[in-house]
Symmetry: C2
Subunit: 139 residues, 2 copies
């Protein structure tokens, strides 16, 4: 998680976040968290949780961090299967940084639609204020 | 808060939520919370917080609950002034139930745009699956 958080380019998290706070966030009691391994080495991690409570509880939310090509797509496949098994009807990403083109391309390739655009909602460390996208996939 | 939560028509919160959990949510350490009073009687309450951390920290989020006509608009005016004073550049509502017409009309009247539509993201107790809206206002 460290390089992703420190870079501050793809997640709306405090770049100076410490290890304890990062683990508390990523392993929160409201979510299930997994790692992806290749030959015993962790190459990615993701969580799945309900995106809202009550009347919004049938839509899940995931976050992925990866350190190897292909890890995000493999984790998504795992998460989609898990989401269906848990009874979720849809998956929503609340805050995809619009200039994170690799992520946007991947999510569109696996069936997500951009259902919202948050103007200037992310301060990118190099590009300044850029839009964030809300992406949604019915399962 | 009780009638709003129990009705389950406008907030994505567990309708059976107890008092302690409701207060923990509404008075969370990540937010400032206020009440609106008329002649010493509480007629509404709202909170203001950052909607995201890190590079998303310049956009705030508020939640309002009201028990009297005009309270929501008065609380919004207070929250908008506070948000500017705190240095926020925009305000975002993540989950406005689309069939909550009074709310949608009010937020549009005070300058919010619908920037996202989450298909079927809210299970209304009487109307079934309805869309939720993401609304955004630059301050």
């Amino acid at each position: 998680m460290r390089p992703v958080v420190r870079a501050g380019e793809t997640y709306a998290l405090d770049r100076e976040m410490g290890e304890a706070a990062a683990l508390e966030y990523w392993l929160g009691a409201d979510r299930e968290t997994f790692v992806a391994e290749v030959d015993g080495t962790v190459v990615g991690t993701y969580f799945l949780r309900a995106n809202q409570a009550g009347g919004g509880g049938h839509v899940c939310n995931c976050g992925y961090m990866s350190a190897a090509a292909g890890a995000a797509r493999a984790m998504f496949a795992h998460s989609e299967e898990l989401a269906r098994a848990r009874g979720y009807r849809a998956m929503q990403f609340n805050f995809v940084v619009s200039v994170n083109e690799r992520a946007v391309r991947l999510w569109e390739a696996v069936g997500f639609d951009v259902v919202g655009r948050l103007p200037g909602a992310f301060l990118h460390p190099e590009k300044g204020y850029v839009d964030a996208l809300v992406m949604f996939k019915t399962l």
